[in-house]
Symmetry: T
Subunit: 149 residues, 12 copies
């Protein structure tokens, strides 16, 4: 059984509540439910975490040591300046996939740069809720591949 921490950053708890033109009408818990289902179908178990606190996200990433096999993260606006989250990912040294629902490259210039991406295995942007599902599938592959090496 693969265990994965699914971490959502600031304001993603408002998904489906606010700004539907950018993020759609699906709430975060709806996404999490469907994602759990998809994970189980692939032999994985997810643990969900959302916080508006950078520090809480770092704590959660560190808590994955010895407990989970990988991290699926949508860092929200922290994407663009949280070198501390980047360091946490680098330090725990677990396969990590960064996802974004909107196409950050087609929005304001400050959203084009991710300070976290260099510490991740890969990045998926622009597919709405599906970004999570694709990210999960990608992460499971990366974990399976590293196990078989």
């Amino acid at each position: 059984m693969i265990k994965i921490a699914v971490i959502n950053g600031p304001n993603l708890n408002l998904l489906g509540v606010r700004e539907p033109s950018v993020y759609g009408t699906t709430t975060l818990s709806m996404i999490e439910d469907r994602l759990q289902e998809a994970a189980r179908a692939q032999g994985a178990e997810l643990d969900f975490f959302q916080s508006n606190h950078e520090g809480a996200i770092i704590d959660r990433i560190q808590a994955a040591i010895g407990k989970e096999d990988g991290i699926l993260i949508n860092p929200g606006a922290f994407t663009h300046y949280s070198y501390a989250i980047r360091d946490a990912i680098q330090a725990v040294n677990l396969p990590t996939v960064e996802v974004h629902m909107s196409n950050i490259h087609a929005r304001e210039p400050f959203r084009h740069t991710s300070v976290i991406a260099p510490a991740a295995a890969g990045q998926i942007v622009g597919f709405g809720e599906a970004s999570y599902e694709l990210g999960l599938a990608a992460l499971i592959r990366v974990i399976r591949k590293s196990r078989s090496e």
Copy 2:
């Protein structure tokens, strides 16, 4: 009755305690008391919040949904890098006024840029304690105007 969240960012709890040459000798609670009084005179009720935690400020901004009509915020040093607070303001979609006691354009270069201002209705800088009072008056106008539309 108009309800407004008044949010102060990092180190503003030290107002009147430290650096009087920049911020004067009035404490934050003195400012809040006078501001409450001014608000009531204009038919508004204020709820005060101060935190050194970016995440707590985002939580508070989100908590204004369905509870308050507008936000008066002095983001302190978060002004210059917290895209997460900017996103929170944009997401709750409540009229927001950004205030600063000192003239940030006459201080160090890093203080000249606000990443939060584009998400606010307007910005008031440089009038010491009066920045709050002017900001309150401005916010009440914006709220009244949006109600009458």
Copy 3:
């Protein structure tokens, strides 16, 4: 009695005539009338001046020496490059408040920087016509405060 020069820069004479989506339908003289009224209620008298000429604005600022107690200025597009107006404000050494009707931080990048703000006491942006009234109130406070020192 407090005497204040109210100075408007280029194209502000077109207020209410052109670009209503940005600046509303109120004309400059309507704003000036209401502002005069508000000033008198606060024990102040305003003298209005508008010009599309940078030099004329500098002349007017200089003319305030020994005649007025403060300056309320909306420098229009000169905001972004007129170091000569900045020098004039610095030279006459009268309390000055800079106002903008639109939120300049939410418009084109070149409008995000004010070369004049460092020479002003403070800046108010984004409240439409109310920016002038808030600016007036702020300026009167600054003048009163400097008198009492």
Copy 4:
């Protein structure tokens, strides 16, 4: 009958008098005479204006409201920094064509950028006196097209 304001910026009154290696030996009034002739042949009437004063150019642009159908402008060196002229063009909302006699892209770097071009319908550079004639023809087309819509 189409009516057009033809506006020339700083130092263009020296055309044919100074720097012939860059601008040729034809004087501005010779250009204006030929341009008037060309305009009449196309059913248009031109009104000429030249000034070294940015403010006077803004005044003239504003004066075109309700009087002329379009503006043909060579802003001279104001091209590179006069956001106030750009605002004036945007505010009067008349079809405007920007022309330059020399190829500004083949001269000093500061001449490569026009802060005015984004507010114009189009721009013609590099054809000496002919830049005006081409600009006139282009402007008449733009005006005719907007009338037929």
Copy 5:
């Protein structure tokens, strides 16, 4: 039946032949065979194209008009400067997914920027051969979603 053009840019024909430390030992035709299989399982048919010629890639993108429902593209080094490919994608107006095998954000600085991403629906980077399969799944979703709208 969904029809998709799968386009690979310069040097990707060398996959599995050169630089295995970066791109693995799988050849492009092996990837294409597996991808076709995966596509058919999802009710899609793929047409493969690889070229080292920017112009040939633009021709192929244009040829998709009226023939295919979407484009899966790995633009190789063209990612970083081919505004012409970006324009082609924008012009044909078909759902497009950009994929990269390596994590471009963890390589040389010039590889961190994609001039093509703003014209794509989304982007997937860093999962080796799996980037294609994830990109295919993402693209099929985008196409199905746009059909159901």
Copy 6:
């Protein structure tokens, strides 16, 4: 008889087919037919060429040596990075006019710079189909003037 090569760059073959909001509904061959007509009226003969291949455009520019008297070029997206096309124009040393249908200065920042303009005689931007006709007229003037010297 003046002979002129009319060269169109990438994606301009889609004119009238795609993105009508930016480029209108006229097809490239319609533009070419009208342009030929206009040319003949001025004693010139045009040879048309369009390619999505930078190399093919360079080949065509070189082929103009000893065969044509000037070049009318809309380099499309190559405008912004093809130093090779710039070198070709400089090398064949024939009068060249660069045209753009849209006002590139009012679009995305990367479109504001032309690396080709410094090698051209002049540039015309923003007049839709008319940009070609104005460019043709300008080019014929330049050619006639150089012949008479």
Copy 7:
């Protein structure tokens, strides 16, 4: 007796646990024990604090007012963007020494800049665990010197 707050920023709780090639195998509590010992030998008493939360670090810095004589801080990744921590240090106005175990100038470019250093008395980088001991010695000197003034 000198009292000093020793503050460690994000991910430093993983010292000795993760990334030994960069930070060695000594844990943070081992460092703290030895540091306490060294402090006592110099007549000082240390109070240790570590957090992944920027806000908690600011709270701790503020708590030093009236309680401690100086601050020894390794801000971790906050070094590079936390203007709020810088403001806190400036506000409490206690002698502060910034330390880093690795040589930040020999790592990624974003690590070369400290936004906190201008508010500190001095900075020590590159000596592993010894950075703390040297920083402690430096801080005690600064405190002693300010007392004797």
Copy 8:
């Protein structure tokens, strides 16, 4: 007899009236009187002009054609952005010396660059009133030298 136009830019009419810590207590007319005296001793006659209007300064520079032999100019704040004044100097093609009373290189960064200097023969900065006298002596030399060539 050498004839020279002495031109002073914006706010220099306030010399000796305002900001004595930067510019001293001598008024502009005192400087002009002494300068006239110095000029006459060297066989030169000065004509003085001061304006806060960029356009008026350009008019005055142009008026020197055929009337004066050289220009001594302190462009004030126009130094840093008036490409129009630079063009005027270049166009009239008279020997020109640029002077500044304060050391512009030791003040705010925006004052370090003169867009006018490349069009002048030379520049003298930092010697208070003496900058004018040195500039006059320099200009007379340049004029005498060009006459003797």
Copy 9:
């Protein structure tokens, strides 16, 4: 026998035909003949290729795999932006020497940077035709040295 591909980029086919002041009067085939002769004298055989097409150059570089021992390349204007050619050189992993006839560091700023040089063994610039001969000698040395290792 050493086999070497000699590749010339855009517009180099015009050598000796155009711009003799920059490149001299020798044609490319004259250079190639003399270079072949020089190569044979050193025990090497050259295969020449010139194209204005970036893609064709990449194809030719790839064709060197298993056929040639090294590459001598003058990428022309592609030097400054073709990351695709750089990738091709890196991928085929053959010793490559980059040459330029003119001193690119003494020409326009955009010519000072080679995006290809980091993938080459070395670079020779500024010696006209001799750049090729020196480059050939350098390449033969590099090949001989790598063989003897």
Copy 10:
């Protein structure tokens, strides 16, 4: 016995003689005497060198080969541009500690960057004379540690 070269760069010979507000009143030879004493107490012997000549400093660094075990250097203003000193340190490959008396991060922007630091083991800034003593202690630790490996 550990042998160490202590090298001081330009103008440090003026310590205690000039600019006491920045560097204090202690002369360089007083610092050196105390430092020698401190070194001997730790089983080390120092050799002092000061020069205003970049070349002499490089010569001295090179002379340490085979003679000393480490280098303690205050490069003065060479800190900010002497890549040649950086290369010398890298070439001799001896443990090196860079020290500065003042807090270079709190002075002019050009002083914030050290081109030498990446070649050093570590850096100590801001503690006046104590920077040397701390640097010495740090260096001795680095040398001892490398010996024990």
Copy 11:
């Protein structure tokens, strides 16, 4: 009697020998002789020094302490990068005038910036040999003025 050190930087010993088109045909010793004469007429005595060695120039500047009353310096190319010379001037704290024979603002971009000017009293550029004489006169004034204070 005023005593002044006249210091010339690298390559100025070649004056009159090389590059006459930029610097004229007068040799440095001719300039020095005339300058000495001019100095004596003003009650000053000059000591001349020229070196291509940055260190030697710093030594000479330091040697002026207690011996000379001011420094006249043409730093040559050191103007643009020698922060060590700037520090020397600041440290000796003697009135210093920087001179340049050519107009550095009309030459290559790297020559437009002087890192030394902020430490000087003033700067004179562009008057050939006369720059020295004007600089001498300026320096004597500055010295006299500081004596009389």
Copy 12:
């Protein structure tokens, strides 16, 4: 007989002694001996000079006037900032070839720019010891060519 000065900059005296992974094991004197041999075979005589002193290198370049026919220089780290060496080369006006043993374009960013190259005839980088021999051959060609003109 051709006479050439061969000049090596800072730290090149350590060749073969230090950093063999970058520069190989051959010492500078071995390179010089072989180079002398190669020169004599081509009818040239070399004079060798190495210094860590920028000033000494400038002195040596100047000493070549009237004594040597050309200069072969490896400026070491001075390549990246010594505008004084560039000026010396420009002033003596002798054919100069710049060489580097390593491929500076594949090393740290600061090594990618040569401030000296614009003053040289050409530049050769990346061929280890052979860079000198190729540079010598290139220089002899340049000298022979200039003699035959």
